[in-house]
Amino acid sequence: MSARIKFGVVVFPGSNCDHDAYHAVKHLFHHDAEFLWHKETDLKNSDVIILPGGFSYGDYLRTGAIARFSPIMNEVMKFAKSGGIVIGICNGFQILCESGLLPGVLLRNQSLLFSCKHVNLRVEQNTSRFTNENNVGDILRIPIAHGEGNFFAEPDVIKSLEENGQVIFRYCDEKGAITSESNPNGSVNNIAGIINKNGNVMGMMPHPERACELQLGSSDGRKVFESLINSFVLQAV
């Protein structure tokens, strides 16, 4: 591919996976990346916005509840509504739900404990720009690290997410079975990642940016970024 994609990584004061996302897209995939400070209102011509993991504003209230009101989020919301690509990872997913760009909400883990470990994700569809490099049913091993990742929405919302193919990742066991034992936080239907109806906004609790180098235990997270980068190639063709 000729053109480089520009990633804008939003930095809230309590973001702590901002450097990890930046490292992945810039140093591992060799695209452009720039940090976007939460007080700014300029997305600096980014092609993709990443809302990274962390604790945006301390998250003493509800996770992501304050972040959605930040100056940068106004712009991110406009960007998303006009079709711009936005990825929310972990705390970023929580912010996307709080800001209404994605449906549902992330509750405290059923165990009430923070949980950091590698989990297995089953790829539920491969037509989205975040999954096209996979086969349906592929299993990705990617870490989670959250205390509030228990995805919940009203039954009618879940129904429409499922029917529209908006559920892209589900927690599963090593063989791909969707079981309650493999659900690390109590999410409805083991949902780990979803997209919006238009397919340009994606949120997931697991951290693909932490699984891009075998040295760190898994490189399955690359599939998420490769799919996205590939979608630009397909677009260009």
């Binding site: 004061p13 702590n16 604790f55 301390g58 404990l113 923070f114 760190l216």
Partner: protein, 745 residues
């Protein structure tokens, strides 16, 4: 509101502040007058054990504290600083927060993490990994589980939010820690040589700024509280425990590093124990300077705070910094960007006096030098007496014990011991991966983190078996140093330096002080032999409950360097068919072992067999094998002995294995060989074809090297064809035992 009237300072009031008559006399002679109430507060906290190290410093000075890699000496700055090449240095330190955690486990542990992080970034280093070392009472006790849950959640919530991975640690349970748990937190940071900051105040007329959180009444006399025994009355000291705010700390980190890297700062120190008092007097003394501070300018979060309270507050997430006036504005804009207070509260003077003004009055005027460790703070060498209990424990005859009837059952029991079973329930509550540098995750011998700007990786581990130290303080402490080093070696690293956290009882008890001096002597010997100088650390005395002292627990935080990624080695077996070897000799010494405690309830005998000179050879030998690419897995033999080491290697990886081994016990009963905790042994695996090369290396170092058996595909562990264990059962017990214990009501 009625104006606060300061009490008149008397000998009685001084005593209530923890100053002895002799120390109060010393204050009178320094000032040549009766101190003001605020001054009494200043001297009482600065001369508390916690700040002055008055009963330990003479001993600490006997430790090896220099080496070619050390960039600052022990105690000179907030943390030790070690050169790792490539223009980079590592700042690292361990510190206790035992007393606060005993009465308020969540906040006590959280602020312990916060405090040690600030020690690292106040030097200009970005924290990249944290570790901890925890001790609790009997896990069957409800209060223990309350403390455990609170402490683990406190460490997790603070570190997870702050964004530094918690990569390794240790947790032990023993009844001696029942009312006095130990919570030691360690942090490791990376700094480029040119960007190291110092905790110094110098340059007459330079401005002094307070940054970070506003000052409240929390934590007043925290340092003094830490210098007393835990008692029934301790519950009333809950207000002495500070409250942590990791979000503000994260902002403080980013703003501080930005200001240091911009070259705007002359000196900076975090406000930990004794808050503004400690930072102002220590920074002044270090620079042979003085300070004038106007407390009316300090941002406060409670009304009507007195000078005494402002000076003694231990509110968290604050720093004191010194800058040239021309940089004042630039610093303010950096802290403003991060939405933090940044207020100029005074200036540097040249006469060595710290002067405190409040509401237009001079509230304190003390020579900085007289307050601090290494200056006017008292130094004591206390009386020692070998404790009586040692006569009984050392005369224990292990041959008097019956042989366990069913070895398989003993092994299944051992693998579930709270001191052996997987700590997964604990470490999964910590974000161990943030910043994407964690190469070896918790659950292996030592943690490994990479450094993105360098080929090298860091290995780190905390270690101390308090039972060994109790049975033989000198040898037990040597073992703690040796074992943390061995853990680092097993991951492919060369041990380079240590930090220590010395948790002991009341130093005024001669028996406790004897344990302390013996432990220091053992540490000195081991650190010299392993060439791992002491870069700093922390002493925590008064770890006592109404009934007894805790086991003397000198926790070692070991740092090692791994030259390149290909040297990184883990504990888990890699492939069926690989040969299993033992480096070292099985001596069957079950004294002080977990087996003895679990099976017979006995904590007796000497600390297990240990020979320092051999340990050095063993570590060199194992490292050379690793660096030559001959080893697939390496795992230290420690608590639980040979059998636990083998079983762990079989199950801690993603892929599980069985194994078949043959052991010749000679004249000893087999259980002693299986469960003995005699030191300086490593279980390694390799492709059989490497055997002769490995043998050559072993011979060079005079280290015994023997084939034990083979890694197998089937889920069975067979020992001498008379014991067969079900690996799936072992796996379940090992990984779920702690969770099951904690989940009880």
């Amino acid at each position: 509101m009625k104006q606060f009237e300061e009490p008149v300072v008397t000998k009685e009031l001084a005593k209530q502040h923890g100053l002895t008559d002799e120390e109060f006399e010393k204050v009178l002679s320094i000032l040549d007058r009766v101190p003001t109430y605020t001054e009494l507060g200043i001297y009482s906290v600065m001369w508390s054990e916690h700040c002055s190290y008055k009963n330990s410093i003479a001993q600490l000075k006997t430790l090896p504290r220099s080496g070619k890699r050390l960039l600052v000496g022990a105690g000179e700055e907030n943390a030790g600083l070690v050169d790792i090449g490539d223009g980079l240095a590592v700042a690292f330190k361990i510190e206790s927060h035992n007393h606060p955690s005993a009465v308020e486990p969540y906040q006590g542990a959280a602020t312990g993490v916060g405090g040690i992080m600030r020690d690292i970034f106040t030097m200009g280093a970005r924290p990249i990994a944290s570790l901890n070392s925890l001790r609790f009472g009997d896990i069957d006790d409800k209060q223990t589980r309350h403390l455990l849950k609170g402490v683990v959640k406190g460490i997790g919530d603070y570190g997870n939010s702050f964004g530094v991975p918690t990569v390794a640690g240790e947790v032990y349970f023993d009844p001696c820690y029942q009312t006095n748990p130990l919570v030691n937190a360690m942090s490791i940071g990376i700094v480029e040589h040119g960007h190291v900051a110092s905790a110094i105040a110098k340059g007459e007329g330079n401005v002094i700024m307070i940054v970070g959180s506003a000052t409240g009444r929390d934590g007043i006399h925290g340092a003094t509280f830490a210098s007393e025994e835990i008692s029934e009355a301790s519950e009333s000291k809950r207000p002495s425990v500070q409250v942590g705010d990791p979000f503000t700390e994260k902002l403080l980190l980013e703003a501080t590093l930005e200001a240091i890297r911009a070259g705007l700062i002359v000196g900076i120190q975090d406000m930990g124990a004794a808050g503004l008092t400690c930072s102002s007097t220590e920074m002044s003394a270090k620079g042979n300077s003085g300070m004038e501070l106007n407390l009316d300018l300090v941002p406060i979060r409670e009304t009507h705070m007195t000078a005494y309270e402002i000076m003694l507050s231990e509110s968290q997430e604050r720093m004191l910094l010194v800058a040239e006036p021309k940089n004042e504005q630039a610093i303010k804009s950096i802290f403003e960007k991060w939405d933090l207070n940044c207020i100029t509260i005074g200036k540097v003077t040249s006469d060595g006096m710290v002067r405190i003004y409040h509401q237009g009055k001079l509230k304190a005027e003390v020579p900085a030098e007289t307050c601090v460790l290494g200056g006017g703070a008292p130094v004591y060498i206390r009386e020692t007496k070998k404790p009586d209990y040692l006569a009984a424990t050392s005369s224990f005859n292990v041959d008097s014990l019956s042989t366990p009837k069913n070895l398989s059952e003993s092994i299944y029991k051992l693998i579930q011991s709270p001191n052996i079973a997987s700590r997964r329930w604990v470490f999964e509550q910590y974000d161990s991966m943030v910043r994407t540098n964690s190469v070896v995750l918790p659950g292996s011998d030592a943690a490994v983190v990479r450094i993105k700007k360098s080929e090298k990786l860091l290995a780190a581990k905390t270690d101390c078996n308090g039972r060994y130290v109790y049975l033989n303080p000198r040898k037990g402490t040597m073992i703690a140093v040796a074992e943390s080093g061995r853990n680092v070696v097993c991951t492919g690293g060369k041990p380079i330096a240590i930090t220590n956290c010395l948790n002991f009882g009341n130093p005024y008890k001669p028996e406790v002080y004897w344990q302390f001096t013996e432990a220091i002597a053992g540490m000195r010997e081991a650190c010299l032999a392993l060439d791992t100088p002491v870069t700093g650390g922390n002493v925590s005395f008064y770890n006592e409950s109404p009934t007894a002292s805790v086991f003397p627990t000198p926790t070692i935080g070991m740092l090692g360097i791994i030259e390149k990624e290909s040297h990184v080695t883990t504990a888990n077996f890699k492939e069926a068919g690989d040969a299993i070897y033992l480096l070292g000799t099985n001596r069957g010494d079950i004294c002080g072992s977990e087996f003895l405690f679990l099976e017979y309830g006995i904590a007796s005998g000497d600390a297990p067999f240990f020979e320092l000179a051999f340990e050095v050879k063993l570590q060199q030998c194992a490292l050379e094998m690793i660096q030559n690419g001959l080893i697939k897995s390496a795992h230290d033999i420690s608590e639980g002995g040979l059998i636990v080491s083998l079983l762990e290697s079989a199950i801690v990886g993603r892929e599980k294995f069985g194994f078949e081994i043959k052991i010749s016990a000679g004249s000893l009963p087999l259980h002693r060989i299986l469960f003995g905790e005699d030191q300086s042994r490593i279980v390694i695996t390799s492709n059989e074809k490497n055997g002769s090369l490995m043998k050559k290396i072993a011979e060079k170092y005079f280290v015994p090297f023997d084939r034990l058996g083979t890694v197998t595909q089937n889920m069975k562990a067979t020992i001498n064809s008379d014991i067969t264990l079900d690996i799936e059962k072992v796996d379940d017990l090992y990984f779920n035992a702690l969770h099951r214990s904690v989940s009880r009501n």
